[in-house]
């Protein structure tokens, strides 16, 4: 609402702030804000990961064996039992605590982890550099969106202290369960409104910056794929998030103001009729939610695709295959993602004839996704592939996203979704896309742009250990989920063994726990590497990867205002191995 007051500092570039607070904390510099987002979202990812570890431990051994002896608990179990006190019983989770962790794991990972990392952290840091801008269009708005995000995250976490703890209705918060749920859910609604506000501020900034602040010669057709991905993502956030904001507002009112948008007539609560006028419709929430949340899954994906395109182009030393097809497909994905939301609702009780429509749109959207993947794959042909750590992560993205996308097919077909809906198959599907897919790409991006951010490279050996200890265990966690789901094991079960039809796939859960432990260990070299390299990494210089895009045309780290002289762009983003050129890369800003 207030766009005033930001305009004048857009064209700055003079006067670097000197006080510590202005420089590192309340900074308006897109690079500092990007790093703030980077660190904060990694912290949230760690928190979400910790919750996941607890859940996997619970799922491996959900209930005490017959000969269980509380006196002889394993060290792990007795430690957990001590930490969580009455939320557990001898270290076995009470179901409400499991539901709390489940809801928070999803919410944190998506809204506070991957999206801020992919969009806000790397978008903020890299996007202005790649288009040759001195900063974002509205630097103060940018700073505000970080602080609003942080407040939203803290509010979300603070729900732990509400009576009965964290929200426990899943990250999807389906009404009316979420309406009758304990107070933590109210905190969820409020936190979501705050987080959404932050996202909206960010996306306005990204759109205006990308459209308005391109360096001379940086036409739309010369923008790196990453910039295009961020642009499409920003539009998705801009248009989809307000609808969830509306939905969350209605949910909040249902909870605290006695309205009944989602409460049907004569709904019972325990043994009494719920005190509200009624007449609302629970399915309305699902429409509002998925209208956001399907575009949201592409918000998780598109920045990752952009990153992978950058890393692959740089490390194959050849132009990307089908730049225009990739960009076109991304735009198409963006548009189509607004018309597929009800594929999450085939069995919700909505009109069954609508399913055919949404099956068709869903399978249509898989085509541009396949197109991007195919182009990236064909980009390898004729390259001279360097296998450094960022490249390993980028390469792993291809088959992993492949599995994620392919498993979307039987979910997108309504008849097979009859069997797979709400089972672990869905969980396996989207984790393949988001974890060894998007998150791996984001880790690759960390290795790739770290030298630009801090002036030094991360250690390659540690990086490779991190890579293998991430991708291999992830497959041992997520592939068995497909088996469990195929057998009919539901998601969101605190103790699957209470249902006898799940026992034939319960063995997998034990394997998944061990894989999760390896994954946890595998992150130690990464954290160590990140901090160690700040001081001891190999000095990077301006362009350590011999890349062509503009972020490599300014010092590492770039000074306040980024470019010493405003760059001018002469060619497309991926001019590698151009015949007759003196080096195998031809930077965008190099005069002909």
């Amino acid at each position: 609402m207030d766009t005033h007051g930001h305009g004048h500092d857009a064209g700055h570039g003079h006067g670097e702030p000197t006080s510590f607070w202005r420089k590192y904390v309340f900074s308006v510099d897109h690079k500092v804000i990007g790093i703030q987002y980077l660190i904060t979202s990694f912290l949230f990812l760690l928190v979400g990961f910790g919750m996941m570890m607890l859940m996997r431990y619970q799922l491996a051994w959900p209930s005490p064996p017959d000969d269980f002896d509380p006196e002889k608990m394993s060290l792990v179990r007795s430690t957990i039992a001590k930490i969580f006190g009455d939320k557990m019983e001898y270290g076995f989770m009470r179901p409400d605590f499991y539901n709390q962790l489940g809801a928070m794991h999803g919410t944190i990972m998506i809204f506070l982890g991957v999206v801020p990392l992919g969009v806000a952290a790397f978008g903020n840091y890299v996007l202005p550099l790649q288009i040759g801008a001195p900063d974002m269009a509205f630097p103060r708005l940018n700073m505000m969106s970080y602080w609003v995000y942080l407040v939203g995250g803290i509010v979300m976490m603070s729900s732990y202290f509400a009576p009965d703890g964290f929200p426990q209705s899943g990250w999807t918060s389906y009404a009316p369960l979420s309406i009758v749920a304990p107070p933590g859910q109210t905190v969820w609604c409020i936190a979501m409104v705050i987080i959404i506000t932050s996202s909206l501020l960010g996306s306005i900034n990204f759109i205006v910056t990308t459209l308005n602040m391109r360096a001379k010669g940086m036409t739309l057709g010369r923008m790196p794929v990453f910039v295009w991905a961020q642009l499409v993502t920003a539009v998705l956030l801009l248009l989809a998030f307000p609808v969830l904001e509306a939905g969350a507002l209605l949910q909040l009112l249902d909870r605290v103001a006695g309205t009944s948008f989602y409460i049907p007539k004569d709904m019972m609560y325990g043994s009494t009729v719920f005190p509200a006028a009624g007449g609302g419709n629970p399915i309305l929430w699902q429409h509002l939610f998925w209208f956001l949340a399907h575009p949201e899954v592409y918000v998780l994906l598109l920045p990752a695709m952009g990153i992978v395109a950058e890393i692959i182009a740089t490390n194959t030393r050849k132009p990307l295959f089908g730049y225009r097809e990739i960009v076109g497909s991304m735009v198409l994905i963006g548009i189509l993602s607004f018309v597929v939301w009800a594929h999450h609702m085939f069995l919700s009780g909505m009109r069954t004839s609508l399913a055919n429509l949404f099956v068709t749109t869903t399978l249509t959207i898989s085509v541009p996704s396949v197109a991007v993947l195919t182009c990236l794959l064909l980009s390898l042909r004729g390259g001279a592939i360097r296998f450094n750590t960022p490249m390993l992560f980028a390469l792993a993205f291809l088959p992993m996203f492949g599995i994620g996308g392919l498993t979307g097919l039987p979910l997108g077909f309504a008849p097979t979704d009859l069997h797979l809906h709400d089972t672990y198959y869905v969980i396996g599907h989207f984790h393949y896309v988001v974890a060894p897919g998007s998150l791996a790409a984001l880790m690759g991006a960390t290795y790739y742009w770290y030298p630009k951010m801090f002036g030094r490279k991360m250690n390659e050996t540690l990086g490779k250990i991190h890579f293998w200890m991430t991708i291999v265990p992830m497959n041992f966690i997520f592939f068995p989920m497909l088996f469990q789901g195929m057998w009919g094991m539901d998601r969101r079960l605190a103790d699957p063994t209470l249902q006898w039809h799940n026992l034939p796939v319960q063995g997998w859960s034990v394997i998944m726990l061990f894989a999760a432990c390896v994954l946890l260990l595998g992150q130690i070299p990464f954290l160590w590497n990140f901090f160690w390299s700040l001081r001891h990494g190999e000095i990077a210089g301006e362009n350590p990867w011999n890349a062509t895009t503009l972020e490599w045309a300014c010092p590492s780290p770039p000074p306040h205002g980024n470019f010493v002289t405003p760059p001018e762009v002469h060619r497309g983003p991926y001019e590698y191995s151009v015949p007759g050129h003196k080096t195998d890369y031809w930077p965008q800003d190099e005069a002909a």
Partner: protein, 267 residues
């Protein structure tokens, strides 16, 4: 560490409804295609990684050709998917979800879900369901059945245990008292959300006698995991037998306690 009844299954569970084979067929076709695509991609991927690895004297090639050709696989995939939708997706969906066998030739059941139990309401021999009223809901009458309605006299209400006859479709008309639940029997390959304030339907025709587990597939609160039940598919004779004994039992205890509250009956 792994209990002896825990296993490592990888496929689909036993199919036990008339349409399950169609769904399984589509499921298998899709997975074969998916694996096929993945293997083709994977082989090409590994070939590229090996053949185009950086090494002394090898440089990248600057070519921008053949871009249009990449639309061919895209087009083929789109065409293939559309064919699958038209040939199988829409017809199977229509037969399972958009049409219901004639109620007069089916076994009709009302399911009233609640946190955390399935109330199962049979019309009894007269085939008519008694009236239900939310005002009559009590600990002993969990679905609010109006016993003054003559149609209610021979109605049977069970909790979590559903008996159905073999050789005849069963039609479930479902609603929920409180939050959203989801009726799901993996062997029938069908599930359906059960929504308060709304009636949803699910029908199935069992093809095997035996016991199949009902699970709730939609998170409904802390007892969600335990919201389980069983479908007993009986031969028609067994089913009639069972129905008679239930009606007789109800008549016998009509003056006494009546149905037991679900929370006490859950195990």
């Amino acid at each position: 560490m792994i209990k002896e009844d825990w296993g490592f299954q990888t496929g689909l569970p036993e199919a036990a409804s008339s349409y399950a084979p169609n769904i399984d067929w589509l499921m298998n076709v899709l997975h074969v295609v998916m694996i096929g695509i993945f293997v083709v991609w994977g082989v090409y991927f590994i070939y590229c990684l090996v053949a185009y690895r950086a090494r002394d004297g090898h440089t990248g090639t600057y070519h921008q050709t053949g871009e249009k050709a990449s639309f061919i696989p895209d087009g083929l995939i789109l065409a293939f998917e559309m064919w699958l939708i038209l040939a199988f997706g829409i017809p199977i969906w229509a037969s399972v979800k958009q049409s219901t066998p004639p109620p007069s030739e089916s076994n009709n059941i009302h399911v009233i879900a609640q946190q955390f139990a399935w109330n199962i309401h049979y019309p009894g021999p007269d085939g008519k369901f008694g009236r239900r009223d939310v005002k009559l809901v009590s600990a002993s009458n969990s679905i609010g059945l109006d016993e003054s309605d003559p149609a209610s006299k021979d109605d049977i209400v069970t909790i979590n245990q559903m008996s159905v006859p073999l050789g005849k479709p069963t039609i479930l008309q479902m609603t929920s008292k409180d939050v959203i639940h989801d009726f799901w029997v993996s062997n029938f390959r069908n599930k359906q959300d059960v929504v308060p304030g709304l009636n949803t339907n699910l029908w199935f025709e069992p093809t095997k006698t035996g016991k199949f587990e009902i699970a709730c597939a939609q998170l409904c609160g802390l007892g969600h995991t335990q919201m389980v039940g069983n479908v007993f598919v009986k031969t028609p004779e067994e089913f009639d037998e069972w129905q008679k004994s239930q009606v007789a039992e109800k008549a016998g205890t009509a003056s006494a306690a009546g149905a037991v509250a679900p929370s006490e009956n859950r195990s």
